[in-house]
Symmetry: C3
Subunit: 681 residues, 3 copies
């Protein structure tokens, strides 16, 4: 069942912290929210002390008053369970609740996620506060849903406490049954690592057994999910009429599994302004804030229609780091970026900038001074626009014919393993960018043991850049996909590891060698000291592509396998670098390197992938297009990420939904950081 947001119309709102402001300000705040067009607020996710000021004493009056007043002003309320920040009295009394660093030093009160998910004591406290809150707020007027904790695995995605070790051992016993099985799976005969007692096993601290490290990530994910489940089970039972979600996408958590098993839908916190600090403008053609389209694409792979629980509302930063201020139009642009990719509910973070604490520079739409400002005006414009089109677009789905295959095992294994992880990160980035710039909408498809052929056949083309870990089952599925007419593209290092991360005693690419029609004769990793060879195309075309990071030297199995390109230098000059194998109704490509932007561009051309709405629109590179479809309606979101006006070309007439006008064919200007939403015919 698709995990989508249960709303009738697009829902706009904001995060609010009544506990941080004088109660006398609340009414004016809610009144102005409503005027802007907000209909929902999120509260409570860092307020444990207010709900339980001392152990076992629960109180809800402050939040009751705030929620009542909000409701009175027509606002719905999402309540966050406050488990991301346990009270000081609790961690002081039970230090085993704390997470510790790799050296064994406990984290301190004063941050977030300084606790571990494993402590039975903490889980018990969490259950009790959740139960008290769920009892109190089930069917409470205005309260529509729950956010579990906040940004799970943010600020901490590794765990080293004693409780975690204990929990890891239980998880391992459940998985392996015996130490013999574990020793075999972890290859402990290597370097004399064999365990003769479960108590000898720890989460890895500075050790580099890759199989143990992979299980570490799997455990952290499962452990986090079971931590969430404690709360979900309670809310489901006590407050069955309210929905449950959680926000954010952080390492070492299988958000797909968590959402599938526990949540009604998934939420994301979108802060594209981080690119004002950490962007990629050292590259030829930077993605800058468009990189967030990539994250939203991942979000959509979990919930086709999702919520943005926190949308950037101004410059962000703590006292210790700083973003610059979004330029005029960018906050609205980023809002539409979220919507274009599938948001049906969106809350800004936050109403007013905090005047104290770590985040005095994480600016809300209102400034400290609480006077009118540009950001409020920009958000109010979105509010009025959504009042007009929010009902039309809700529930429409993003359309794509291409998907990048992705899976958690390779992501987690590749974190430690520099022989394939960096390749995947580079190639996914290149493919995303190439498809962005070529206006080819794409999805992510996360593949796991539950993936079915029908999940794949929705796409004409699949790209699986560097699936080092590739099970026989997945290989079989991919063969069926190609046999049935699909096009599939692999990169270097495919298929040499099994599920445990052991290397197969077979020529690369292991279980897809037959599908690809090649084996890997030799290979070399390119270090920072290496000269990078290029490609020479066998059709003689002059298309410059660098074969970056890794070079597999391919050996076609037979004459029917087409060598599309060979290496143009190095000791393997002239050897096949890119091959194509017709297989059943489809075809499989194998590329022996990481995918540079040039390589992805070349493949897009050679595969004949077309821009979205190519019959109706011609777009410049700086504009992203996203199509959302509902029934026979197609909404085209055109997003101009540049500070200059962009000129698109409309090839046939269309309706401009935001302006409420009918457009004729011809030039179509999109203002700097501007947005158009067209209803296509």
């Amino acid at each position: 069942m698709a995990k989508t947001v249960p709303v009738e119309r697009f829902t706009l709102g904001i995060c609010y912290y009544p506990e941080q402001w004088p109660e006398s300000m609340w009414a004016d705040d809610f009144k102005r929210m409503k005027e802007i067009g907000f209909s929902i607020i999120r509260v409570g996710e860092f307020a444990w002390n207010l709900f339980e000021p001392e152990e076992g004493v629960y109180q809800f009056d402050l939040f009751d008053r705030a929620i009542d007043l909000a409701h009175q002003y027509g606002l719905q309320v999402i309540i966050g369970t406050p488990t991301a920040t346990p009270p000081a009295w609790m961690t002081q009394r039970y230090p085993e609740i704390l997470n510790v660093n790799k050296e064994g030093v406990p984290y301190r009160h004063g941050n977030r996620r300084h606790y571990n998910y494993s402590s039975p004591i903490y889980r018990d406290y969490c259950a009790k506060i959740t139960e008290a809150m769920a009892r109190h707020y089930a069917d409470y007027p205005g309260v529509v849903g729950w956010q579990i904790d906040n940004e799970l695995n943010a600020e901490g995605d590794r765990f080293y406490s004693d409780a975690d070790d204990a929990s890891f051992r239980v998880w391992l016993e459940g998985k392996y049954g015996s130490l013999d099985a574990l020793n075999a799976a972890w290859g402990t005969v290597f370097w004399n690592q064999s365990y003769s007692d479960w108590s000898q096993i720890h989460l890895p601290r500075g050790t580099v057994n890759p199989h143990q490290a992979l299980d570490e990530k799997r455990f952290i994910s499962d452990n986090c999910i079971s931590f969430v489940q404690v709360q979900v089970d309670i809310i489901r039972k006590l407050a069955p009429n309210q929905w449950i979600t959680t926000n954010g996408m952080f390492p070492h958590l299988d958000n797909h599994k968590m959402t599938e098993q526990l949540l009604d839908f998934y939420s994301y916190d979108s802060y594209p302004n981080f690119t004002s600090i950490w962007n990629d403008d050292d590259r030829d053609q930077p993605l800058l804030d468009r990189i967030y389209s990539n994250y939203l694409t991942k979000t959509r792979s979990i919930s086709p229609n999702y919520t943005i629980m926190e949308q950037q509302a101004g410059p962000g930063g703590w006292v210790t780091f700083a973003q610059s201020t979004p330029q005029p139009g960018q906050i609205r642009l980023w809002t539409y970026q979220s919507i274009a990719h599938g948001a049906d509910m969106l809350l800004y973070f936050r109403w007013r900038t905090a005047t104290f604490g770590t985040e005095i520079y994480w600016h809300g739409i209102n400034d400290y001074h609480n006077q009118p400002n540009r950001r409020v005006a920009e958000v109010a414009k979105v509010g009025s626009e959504m009042a007009r089109i929010g009902e039309a677009i809700v529930g429409s789905r993003f359309a794509a014919e291409v998907a990048i295959l992705h899976d958690y095992d390779n992501e987690w294994d590749g974190e430690l393993d520099v022989w394939h992880g960096p390749l995947s990160r580079e190639s996914v980035y290149s493919w995303s960018k190439a498809m962005q710039f070529n206006h080819v909408p794409h999805d992510y498809l996360y593949i796991n043991e539950n993936t079915s052929l029908s999940n794949l056949t929705r796409y004409k083309v699949l790209i699986y850049p560097h699936a080092a870990i590739l099970t026989d089952e997945t290989a079989e599925l991919l063969k069926q996909y190609v046999a049935g007419g699909g096009k599939l593209i692999f990169g270097a290092r495919t298929g040499y590891k099994d599920k445990q991360g052991h290397c197969r005693m077979a020529p690369f690419p292991g279980p897809v060698a037959e599908l690809c029609g090649i084996t890997v004769e030799e290979f070399t990793l390119l270090t920072s000291k290496s000269k990078v060879p290029g490609l020479r195309w066998t059709d003689g075309k002059d298309e410059s592509v660098q074969a970056t990071m890794f070079n597999d030297i391919l050996l076609p199995a037979n004459d029917r396998v087409e060598t599309v390109a060979v290496y143009d230098s190095a000791y393997y000059e002239g050897k096949p670098a890119l091959t194509r194998n017709a297989y059943g109704e489809g075809e499989a490509y194998y590329y022996g390197a990481a995918f540079s932007l040039d390589a992805a561009n070349a493949l897009i051309r050679r595969l004949g992938l077309q821009p979205a709405a190519a019959d109706q629109l011609e777009l410049p590179q700086q504009v992203e297009i996203a199509i959302r479809e509902k029934g026979d309606r197609r909404f085209a979101f055109l997003l101009n990420y540049s500070g200059e006006p962009a000129v698109a070309r409309l090839l046939e007439k269309a309706e401009d939904l935001l302006e409420g006008v009918q457009l004729q064919a011809g030039d179509l200007t999109i203002e700097p950081y501007g947005v158009r939403v067209l209803a296509l015919n």
Copy 2:
């Protein structure tokens, strides 16, 4: 009362370690010291084991013999209390004396300042050794004064031991009275940080509550001062006829308060040769060793006439880092740099390079071989010069008409807070450099709750670059200053925080908005990825200035406020960047950015600030000028920091004090790294 050095004539001397050399060498050492022109030595500051080889057993014979012999050779003696390096037997017996690092790991014996200031046991040991020494050396022939500890807060300016936590809690209780007040001051409702018991509170370890972090620095400073006070109280009582000082300027210590409350005068350790490793020659116009004039200016703000307790005497370094050797003339040049800014007593560090230990490369004026060398000759030249002019210059005061305002709260808050701290550091550097190169002498004026209007009105111009924390009281004082005819210059980020570091719910610049005649409409921090806008001057002049680091977009309150310059690019192109507001008899400038060198230069020109002694001298950029005045006498120190001869122009006749000749108007050559001291008319 001015905290100045109580000497009748300029006093030259050196640091000496009798315990590190065979007693047979002492007499020759003292004899040669006297020949050079030294009249004072400092001893004892790292010799606790020699004073107290086992607990409670005090002995002074070695130092008595050394002091007696020195005195016999006509040398006075300063004694250092040895508390910077506790004996091994003490920290072994009472490990709670040790400071610990952020992870909780105790520091080890073998360094300096591996202890904490809080341990009651250590304070007791310090009191006892101080008492024993004070009893013994009070009125001891030759002993004139005391140095408390050594370079307080050097090697360690953060504290994490249990004793420190305990002491911090006592300090907080004294300050806040109740946990409610503390929770409010620290904004602990943010992220659920509220404390329900004093014992839950620690000095911050990896947490980023800015209000807690500010109190941490205030506590460290107060705690250090109270540590010093233990010793001072004892010496004042037992040795009332000897003066007390301490040396060095290190982080997290309010040297002004400490000197005001406890000391007779302040001392500084000047090592300009560090610029041979860590200089700023990556800048267009580097300050290099002239940066030490900046530190001496700060020293002078504490004691108008100060002591240099350690003056660079050769290449410095430990075994783990290294300076190059001062070039011929530089040791003398740096000596005069210290004198020009206000030194009335100066000791070199050290007599002879140690042949063992961590500092075998911290070269004294004598080499290991103890033969005549260039450095001894250079210092002897200073000795003979001071013999001639030391009585004339003593007690004269540095003259300046401009001051940079500075305060500890903003310095400490800005350490963590990247939204204003880096701006202040950059702007103070730029202003110092601009005034150096334009030959405009300046002071630092540290502002606090005791600052009076008369402290300010000594200056025609005050520059307060980025006073993020600005109390209403200080704002009122600044208004009075301007109303009375002063010129005052603010930079970006002024006035938005209160004393606790909370952000005011008012438009920037808060309490000086009326004084400046503007509010800040919008702002943006410039990250390393940002394009920096420039200024366009409304008077049409072509003067290139980059508006660096931060841009406040200003909104003049009315037509009477002059917009001096606007931004020349970015989305706020054409908006006011620099304004001037006539206020009473004076005027207030607000500049929306950090002050680059170009900005400071432009303002110096526009404010009409004149070079010192402009009627008498024309100076090239590489020469610093400092004027010391006493009664109607004016001594001009001309310091040539370059390795080439510098040619100044003397506009009227003057006396060359060092050469003892009368100079006529005309060209005046200053040799490479050379110095001239002129008596101006």
Copy 3:
């Protein structure tokens, strides 16, 4: 007695891990090894759990079966004692076995060398397993020798456990006898470090007493040797007919002393492919993989004929770092590099790439797939070549007339001391490179208290770059060497420290001032900010040399001392930089700087050092030459390190041993990464 490999013919082999593969694969593995030309394997060094699966239960069946089968296929066996990786059950039961980091945090099971050498419990366990193995494998058919532990001090060359502190104190008591002597030696009067009880002393943790730090390294070395001795004594007694060695060269271990006292010969692990990651190609003329000739030269200084226990067999790397793949020919080239410098036995690492564990990317000659590949073919070529020439070359010795003097005290002292350590590293590198490129073979001569004049007089020229620590005894030996006709070259910073690292109270260069005929008048370290002066040659020749890193300004003692070059700039322009003093029959050079490549080149020319076999060969720079001599036979190894063919010139006829042909005078082409072995007349 020369510690050389006791073999009759060159012996080729490989490292093998039977425990990591199905027993069914063994026979095929051994069969193919034999076909390649291998005659020896190494096993067992990481297999403690297999030998002792629980405490006190010893079992050998798996290895017995493997060894029996190997022997059956004609392979000899080296057994590694498994003490580099203690079992989990052991470190869990006795955590005091673990080494801890500087912060006191114990290392974890799962790596190598996470234990300390000091724990009596661990030494006891090691003794027991060694005894059990020695009893079992003494005179076991096929077993010829032992490797103690594995790569001593790799992965950990600092020790901080309680056991280490205790052992350090015992070592210190043995060395100094009394605390007074220790306090004097460590100069603890400096900074009040004096110890009044042995228990106050620790291995240095973040402290920088240079004398303590030097003793730390001496202790670590002695402690490691005594750890090895426990095992050696047992094997000598129980298995007197098998030889003993160990492999690798890592910091803080006097391999010379260890080999002299305990081993039959020394072994090295050669991985030149590390230069694909960490090479020096940022230099003008990089050494790249030729740097390994330098390491082999050091190896040869321990054992004139040594074993390579692990020779690179493919790309190396862990999951966390990666080398690129050796290019065709490089594995063979590196094999001959090892042989050319003195190997008489060589084992590749490893037979087949591990399919699990940390080292799945440390490629053996066989791939995971176990099919024929390029690397196996390349190694088989070596096998067939050695079958032909292995008997001829065995026992022949590398010939050199020049040596670089080296000693552990300066190496260890210079690790911490930036005032001489970096100079030595730079100068040794420059000299090695200059001699490589000029085809002047050289040795390392490690000098210590047992070095005799006859060790020195084997060489015409000795270079002792920066002997900061220089005892009177060594100085005397050097004087005798020069007096007898030797040429000796010193660099800056010579002779100012005594054996304890105290600075001498005498002009530099202390005990060799008379030999050199100069003293150092002044000096300066050049920092990264300094302008580097050049040399001006007094004979007027135009030869460009930069006087890098440090400049001693020399003062000749008399007119007979020749000033060869002076500084060409800086304040000491024109002062002597390089001097030559005739002394007895020889001459001593003193150079006041570090030796750049240009300086070494200039000295090679001025000393008239000739290329090897200059009468018979002319070689291009990219080719290394090494001569091995036996009786009247001279074997010239020509190694082409470039990827292009190299053309040498043969001046008279010679025999090409590998090709088995007679060569006439004329051009001689060496293929890319190719090797020639010539029998010279």
